[in-house]
């Protein structure tokens, strides 16, 4: 046996080593007070159009509490993607970094307490000309359910589905009759259950819901995403939904969305209309009449 018999001493050593590792793990993540202490510095760094991102993603609630929604507004936190941001402030803990910002140039990086703060620049930021989600109200948008005009209200009763129910039905919406038949901005959960701010457009039955945006500045493409609440409709048992886009009355593309895809991107080539100001129509339709809780994001760029 020789020296091998001393290997049994590894057991008490392992027990004590685990205790030390446990104590280390318990204290290695920053606490809320440390996040709060960072607020002033972040507020100085962040410009009005900058994106503030934290890594790892699970620490974000602490950041939102510490920094407040002035620095982390819903529109940023529930962004469609990061392509339109030119600059981002990244706050990292535990050596993590934000996957979304991979490929962005690190303009500045420094440690602050137990955080690493990086200022990053997007090498190819997209210039958004018109956001359809941000203009989902009068006088920019008209909504028609078949031949019926859906009136706009800024004072609807907010309805939320709770634990097992539908997404939030917002205060500002174009009511098409019946609670879920409306057009308005809400937030869905994507295939990773992350937030995505989008325009709810639930067609009634097998009819067509038409959204008409007036005087839209057209760019080289319409960049968009579509989805439904992934939790509610991820089993993909329903029929697909078609989003047809027209510019100045001319059909440019139809995008067909399947529920189980989650938050799914699409790009529509609009180069032939680039530079023009024209009406843009979105028709939402499905041959499946039930639970077509379609929600989409789109901009011209």
């Amino acid at each position: 046996m020789g020296r091998a018999r001393f290997l049994w001493l590894l057991l008490p050593i392992a027990g004590l080593a685990e205790l030390i590792a446990f104590a280390h793990d318990a204290h290695r993540a920053p606490r809320i007070a440390e996040w709060q202490a960072l607020r002033g510095e972040i507020a100085k760094l962040k410009g009005p159009t900058d994106l503030l991102v934290v890594a790892p993603e699970w620490s974000e609630p602490l950041a939102r509490q510490a920094f407040g929604d002035a620095l982390m507004p819903i529109a940023d936190v529930a962004r469609a993607d990061v392509s339109a941001y030119a600059r981002a402030i990244e706050v990292d803990e535990l050596g993590a970094s934000a996957h979304e910002l991979e490929g962005w140039t690190v303009y500045e990086s420094h440690a602050s307490g137990r955080f690493q703060i990086r200022v990053r620049e997007n090498p190819t930021p997209a210039r958004v000309l018109y956001s359809f989600v941000d203009h989902a109200h009068l006088p920019f948008l008209d909504v028609m359910d078949g031949a019926n005009v859906c009136p706009f209200t800024a004072h609807a009763v907010v309805s939320t589905g709770g634990l097992h129910g539908h997404l939030a039905f917002p205060r500002e919406r174009f009511n098409c009759g019946g609670e879920e038949f409306f057009v308005g901005v809400t937030i869905l959960d994507d295939q990773e259950y992350r937030p995505r701010r989008c325009l709810w457009a639930h067609p009634r039955g097998t009819g067509t819901l038409r959204l008409v945006y007036k005087n839209v500045l057209i760019g080289r493409e319409i960049h968009g995403y579509a989805g439904l609440s992934y939790f509610l409709l991820r089993d993909g048992t329903h029929g697909p939904i078609t989003l047809t886009t027209r510019i100045a009355g001319q059909e440019v593309e139809s995008y067909v969305h399947h529920d189980e895809w989650g938050w799914h991107g699409f790009d529509i080539d609009t180069a032939r209309f680039s530079g023009q100001t024209a009406d843009v129509e979105f028709d939402v339709h499905s041959s499946d009449p039930s639970d077509r809780q379609f929600c989409f994001y789109a901009d011209t760029r």
Binding site: L11, P12, E18, S59, P61, I74, L163, A168
Partner: protein
């Protein structure tokens, strides 16, 4: 293999001390722990059963009317009634009659604590008999100090009770193989109570039969050929007494028995699929990850306990191999060949029970709906093997300095080194038991990085009660999210939550909204954002810097 030792007076004193100590620890920490979702449903059922017990006391024959029985016992009839009846009786006598507990929630929880502590005691007793006093103590405390066992032992639920009942039944069965009819009858009664505790009981006879075949099968066949039946009397007791105990203990099945039992079985065999985050992905339909139970065991049971378990398992396997070799060695005289059951019966029984508890997790069709609590029944056996590993290792360490006096200190020193870490982890994990992970996965931050479930059951409302009481407007509605309204009501009735605050399942009418984090429920958080108009929590409850529950203010 070692010969079983009888317990002496000191052992009985240690048993009492273990029970009292663990119950005292549970009671002293219970106030910090919010009521879990399922507890709310069991409180409601226990209240209903309590009403029936009162009626039984006042008007015996009226209480036994089929319609009356159904009215009181239909509550939560997807689970049998043993523990819920104890919850009801505890509430009746330890809260309503004699105010032993100031909070009715604690009165409901007390039977779960008492039975869980009994599991620690029986682990000690069995470990003591098979492995020696210190090894038995290491086994028992390793079980008691597991953070998840500690968490579940607080609750008015069935998970640690079924762990205990399964262990006690197995212990009685093992004793029945050595001793007379008393232990066999006890096995029958205990198995009936186990059936009345939770459906984990269903697979246990399979483990017993397999154990019998492996250790005594050949002998039984020889006896059968000679016209004698050599089946353990415990089997007859389990066949005759257990169904009777099960039936008597669950009034819901007194009428329409066959259909109701069939419904009960069908409910659990066809259990719906819940959502569970595992390694960054939320599983909600088959195939479920087959690694789930194993990775979660590695990530939540202290590593040193697992290391001792590994040593115990290997040394047991080596011993069994030597016994097998000896039995098949042609040079060994037949009369000198020890019967297999005398050598290997108990460790083989532990091993089979342990594998039986994990068996459902070999199937990728087994729904995950509660994490570690579903194989918690395996942990006493795991700890008994850990005790075995401890006994072996401490003897080897003592042999390093055989003639030194301080060699006597080696076993207690080893015991301290393998128990100190688990003790610290257990104490630190409270009241965030379901968020606790061991250093093997990097603790709570490491588990969050890996995408392991952070919490479920909505019990962490208890961690926010101070903030809610301090900041909620008068008569406010509080959206309770994953906390059952019944659990919220008990928090209020126990004055842990202000009396003027109402729990609600509607975000729209609320002033404060709780959110207990599980990825698939984030949709609910977004509903709050839309309704409240902002995304900044007013308070975030964290465990080791990892957000677990947060609260929004309108």
């Amino acid at each position: 293999m070692t010969e079983s030792r009888k317990l002496d007076r000191l052992d009985y004193l240690l048993c009492v001390a273990l029970w009292l100590g663990y119950v005292a620890l549970l009671l002293s920490t219970v106030k910090d722990l919010g009521y879990a979702r399922d507890e709310g449903f069991y409180f409601q059922a226990a209240r209903s059963y309590e009403g029936w017990f009162e009626l039984l006391h006042k008007d015996f024959s009226a209480a036994l009317e089929p319609g009356t029985v159904d009215r009181y016992w239909s509550a939560n009839h997807e689970h049998p009634a043993f523990m819920k009846s104890l919850f009801a009786l505890s509430h009746r006598y330890l809260f309503e009659s004699v105010r032993v507990f100031r909070e009715q929630g604690t009165a409901y929880r007390f039977p779960g604590m008492a039975v869980s502590a009994l599991g620690v005691v029986v682990t000690y007793a069995w470990g003591r008999r098979e492995l020696g006093r210190l090894a038995g103590l290491v086994a028992a405390l390793s079980l008691a100090f597991m953070p998840r066992v500690f968490y579940h032992s607080h609750l008015a639920c069935f998970d640690t009770p079924v762990m205990t009942m399964l262990l006690i039944t197995t212990y009685a069965y093992a004793r029945s193989l050595e001793a007379g009819l008393g232990w066999a009858i006890a096995t029958g009664v205990l198995y009936g109570l186990l059936l009345d505790t939770k459906h984990n009981a269903w697979l246990l006879p399979g483990a017993f039969v397999l154990h019998f075949v492996l250790t005594r099968g050949a002998h039984a066949v020889r006896e059968l050929r000679a016209g004698r039946v050599a089946v353990p009397s415990a089997f007859f007791a389990m066949a005759l007494i257990s169904p009777l105990v099960f039936y008597v203990g669950w009034p819901w099945i007194w009428h329409d028995t066959a259909r109701r039992i069939a419904d009960y079985v069908a409910f659990h065999l066809g259990h719906e699929y819940y959502n569970m985050e595992f390694l960054g992905r939320t599983y909600w339909k088959p195939p479920m990850p087959r690694l789930y139970a194993w990775v979660m065991t590695l990530g939540t049971v202290p590593g040193i306990t697992l290391a001792l378990f590994g040593v115990g398992l290997v040394t047991t396997a080596l011993c069994l191999f030597r016994v097998w070799q000896q039995r098949h060695d042609a040079n060994t005289e037949p009369e000198k060949r020890a019967p297999l059951h005398a050598q290997a019966s108990t460790p083989l029984l532990w091993l089979l029970c342990l594998l039986m508890c994990y068996a459902p997790w070999w199937s990728d069709n087994t729904p995950i709906f509660g994490g570690t609590k579903h194989w918690i029944t395996a942990y006493p056996f795991l700890c008994l093997f850990a005790g075995r590993g401890f006994a072996f290792a401490s003897s080897r360490i003592a042999e390093l300095v055989p003639k030194e006096k301080w060699a006597l200190l080696a076993p207690p020193a080893l015991a301290c080194s393998v128990l100190l870490g688990p003790l610290c982890m257990m104490l630190h994990s409270h009241p965030w038991g379901l968020s606790f992970y061991t250093p093997l996965v990097g603790g709570a931050p490491g588990a969050a990085n890996l995408g392991l479930n952070r919490t479920f059951w909505g019990y962490t409302t208890g961690a926010e009660q101070g903030f809610i009481n301090a900041h909620a407007p008068q008569h406010a509605n509080v959206y309770v999210h994953d906390t059952a309204l019944q659990s919220w009501d008990i928090l209020r009735e126990d004055r842990r939550i202000r009396d003027d605050l109402h729990g609600t399942l509607s975000i729209a009418g609320s002033s404060l909204a709780l959110y207990h984090h599980e990825p698939h429920m984030r949709r609910v958080e977004y509903q709050v954002w839309v309704d409240y108009g902002h995304d900044a929590p007013a308070d975030v409850g964290t465990f080791d810097g990892v957000p677990v529950v947060w609260l929004y203010a309108r």
